[in-house]
Structure formats: structure tokens, C-alpha cells
Amino acid sequence: MMGPLAKTGEIPQTLDLWLAVFPIGFLFGYFVQRSGFTDARKIAAVFYLKDVDVPVVMLTAIVVGMLGLFGLSLLGLLDFSRVYLLPTYLGPMAVGGLLFGAGMAMGGFCPGTSVAAVVTGKLDALVFLIGVFLGTLVFGDFYPLWKDFYLSGYQGVYRLTDLLHLGLAPTMLLVILFTVGVSMGLRRLQQHFWHNVERKPSPRGRALTAAALASAAVAAFLIPTQAFFAVENTAGSMGGWTMPWADPFEKVMLDPLAAGEVVYRHSDRTRCFDLRSPSEFEQGHLRDARNMTASELAEKTFLPGTVVLAYAQNDDPSLRSTVKALRQRGVRAFGVEGGFQALKPYYMEPITGPLEKSLGGERVAALRSYRALMAPTQPAAAPQPDPPAGRQAP
């Protein structure tokens, strides 16, 4: 079955929530406890190199998660475009990391391990967790003080493949080598400073590791993964076309292709709004678009980080002012240049020869992957499965 099951409609929402409890949440909690991470002393020990299990567990989990995510996608079992991808905010993530690490050394927990420890009766974890709540509220209640910094350094979905200008497989190989090297190096330092490593690496274990690494290296050069990502985030420009997220507040209006790029990169946090009349909306609209008036949209509240894409029939002046009003409230909003009329040939109709010619190969490939997210889903056979609510409008 094609995953993610909850998003391809294979499983209903209730089941999705129950699966979050078991197996996902349950296994997560079970493994955290069994790693010993409900003990603050064990976590803090890493910062004295007295017990380096924390980074070894983390890096191993990352490698397994990475191989699973990209492996399932390459095998065609997972629709990668429907997995929520984390965006990058360079400065806030670096500064957040430094403060987070300082708090971890003081408290001996991170949020997940503290929650897992509370339920096993560790009172220090409970006090830590109360602190986490307070820290969250301090951030939220004094948000205007650091809002500008919080929103700075935005890079969209920015991958190591973009940073290193490498294909997917060589990048994954580097991550695996990094994991093995750092894990072994830290363990060696632990032994050097504390002489407390009881399990010496066996020759057999070493041979196995070497064999696994060698096969990973061979695989990295055999698997054709160059074309895995539709578009590489090459420092903000592709063929003279500046990508909108190079500076998210630079462009207010996007052309249809850039609009597709925004939806593609933020598929899980983009909300699409159709500001035309209900009857126009009913005759066709972008997938998952919601129909409302410009003034309704201007007043709407959004979760922080939401990306808003709005379009009118053509270049409607009220659209531009609505987008600007949203931006003043800190919502990352974009309008579509030329409106629905401009979007139509890109997403509503089969791609024509002249359009293909004017775009060129690379962009047509990108457009095809955007269409998978933006083009309306074909109605099954005869009856339109849409809810009747939108139909009775004038």
C-alpha cells in the first residue's frame, strides 16, 4: 500500500490517531526508557564524555530513519511529497540549539525524555517539565520581542544534498560514515578519560561494520538518485529564476510556477485560498483550496509557520492588499500573479506543447511534481464526491 497511509486515504483518521498511540508513541516511549534516558544522570553524562550513549542512539536512529524514509520512497512505497518536511531557519535553529544544549546540561533532560521519565516516577523530570511549560509560555507571551529573529534565516526545505551539492546516495553515505566515525570516536574518548568502557569492540563486530560500510558505499554509487528531488535548492536561484524563499518577504506576488514550488516545499503547512465567487470556485479550483472573500482571509488566524497562498480571478488589487495585511501580522502569505487565469494552463489543464517549450525541460519536470499536489483530483466516475455545501451558492 502506498504510504503515508493516513494521507493517501488508505486508513481513516480515527485509525491514524490510534496508530499514533500504538505502535508509534508506545514504541518511542519504550525504547527511550530502555535506552536508560529516563535517568537524567545518564543524559548529562554525555557532556562529560562519561557515557556517550545519547549521541550514539540519536545518530543511529537518524541513519535508520533516513534509510527508511528515502528507501521506501525509492521503492515506490511512500509518496515523499506527502511527508511533512521540516523547514530550516538558520539563525534561530543555531541559537535555539545552543540554549537548548545549555538547558539539557543543567536539567539532564530534553522534553521527550522528561515526559517519559515523569511517568516512571522521577520527580526531577516533573520539575523539569514544569520548567519547559513555563519556558514555552515566556516565549509565547513575549513573542513580539523576538519575533523578527524567530522568523529570520528562513531557507525553506533545505537539505544537506543542496548544501553539499551532492546526490542523495552520496549524502546518505556521508551521514552513515559520520555516524560511525563520531560514535567510535566518542566511545574512544570515554575510555580515554574515564576508563569505564567494559565492552571492547570485537574483531567480528569490526568486520561486520566494515562490510556494512563497504556495501553502503557500493550502493551509494549504484543507486541512481540524482533526480530524486524535483528541484534542488541551489542557493536561491535556478536558471535566472529567483526562488521566493531566498527572502520570504521579498516577493508578494508569485508566478504560477513559483506558487507551485511554494506548495511543493511546504505541502503540509500551506493553506490555499480561492478568493473568487462561489460559482467560479465551483467550476474548478486548485486542490484543497478554500473559498472565501478577501476580507474574511485578512482576518483569519493561522498557526505560526503557516504559509498562505491566495489567488483571485486575475490581478485583483484587493488580493495584494490582503496579502500585505496578512504579512503585517507575520503570516507568510503570497498571492498569485495573474490569478486563476494564469494558474489554469499550469495546473487545471493538460500541459500543452507551447507551455512546455517556453518552460524548458527542467522546469517542466518541476511543474509535473507540483501538479501532483495542486491539480484537482479527478472525480471518480460519474457523481462528483464533493460535499453539497458549496453547490447551493448563487
Binding site: 503515508p4 508506545f26 518511542f28 535517568d39 557532556f47 527508511g68 511512500l78 543543567m106 537539505r159
Partner: protein, 175 residues
């Protein structure tokens, strides 16, 4: 078994535990199309708690108001369900291995009040910092790391840098 002995009697091999957590993450990708995470849920809980105590303040907060806006159910999200499972999993694991005990774990040279004060301060810092990072060690570092996100790798490296830089000042708490 490595150093683990003194700290947690039968601890899993870190590589095995890491593989387990990694598989859990892949399950979350495959079943739900999202990653595992904790601070998403704790933020929703903090916002709801404050909304219950101080509704006006919360509704006027530019950041927290979106969590408690009318029509949203902050405590009904996927991450809250996952958090419930996390609690159950950790509880069962501790029960099965005899680690279920009311206690304050601390280093040999620090008293309970000082340990709790440091735990609280560390918690405040972590809760605050996790908002800037858009997640914590699980939701940002692990999930983002697996997705090869540059921001997640920067976050993770900075977490360890911050921890090592602070360790000397709090050595009496742990050593």
C-alpha cells in the same frame, strides 16, 4: 554493556535502542506522513493551560492565540495521541524492569533542592529554546536529521556545543 551498569541496570545496547527509535520514526513517516515529536504537544498543553487560567492574556498573545483560537482543539492533535502512547510505553518498560519508583535522581555531590532548582531552570531554558528551533531533540534533531534537513543538523551540533560549554559550570550537579 557499556558504562550503563551503575546508571540503569539492564540497559539496551545504544545501537539497538537507536535502531528501535529509527524504526518507530519510519513507522510514523509511513503511517501518518509525519515525524515523531514532543514539543508540539507540550506547547499545545502550555497554551491551553494558560488559556484556562488567563484567557485574555492568551487570546491577545500573537504566538499562543493561534493554538487556542475558536474552533481549534489544541489537545486533540496527532501529537497528543502520540504523547499518550509515549507515556504508556515508558511506563510499561519501567514496570517490566523494576524502575518504577518515586525518586529524584542526582549526582553524589548535590542535594535534592539544588538538583530540583537546576532541573527547573534547565527546563525553562529548554522550553524557550525549543520554540526558536521549531522542535526538540526528537521532532527537530531526529526527524529533521533523517530528512537531511540542514537546520536540524545545525540544531543538533549546536545542542552538543551548548551542552559541552555549560557542563563545567554544573559539574557539581552530576559528578
Amino acid at each position: 554493556m557499556t558504562e550503563s551498569k551503575g546508571i540503569c541496570a539492564p540497559c539496551w545496547q545504544p545501537v539497538l535502542a537507536g535502531i528501535g527509535i529509527g524504526i518507530t520514526m519510519v513507522l510514523a513517516f509511513y503511517l501518518a506522513g509525519r515525524g515523531i515529536g514532543v514539543t508540539g504537544a507540550t506547547t499545545a498543553m502550555a497554551a491551553s493551560l494558560q488559556h484556562w487560567l488567563l484567557p485574555r492574556l492568551t487570546e491577545s498573545s500573537a504566538y499562543l492565540s493561534a493554538y487556542v483560537a475558536p474552533g481549534t482543539n489544541p489537545l486533540g492533535g496527532w501529537l497528543m495521541y502520540q504523547l499518550a502512547g509515549l507515556l504508556a510505553g515508558s511506563f510499561v518498560a519501567a514496570l517490566a524492569t523494576g524502575h518504577l519508583r518515586l525518586e529524584v535522581l542526582r549526582g553524589p555531590n548535590i542535594g535534592v533542592p539544588a538538583r530540583l532548582a537546576l532541573a527547573f531552570s534547565g527546563g525553562v531554558l529548554v522550553g524557550f529554546a525549543a520554540r526558536f528551533a521549531r522542535g526538540c531533540t526528537s521532532g527537530e534533531a531526529l526527524v529533521g536529521g533523517a530528512q537531511l534537513s540542514v537546520g536540524a543538523w545545525i540544531f543538533m551540533i549546536c545542542v552538543f556545543a551548548g551542552g559541552f560549554a555549560t557542563a563545567w559550570f554544573v559539574r557539581r550537579e552530576w559528578l
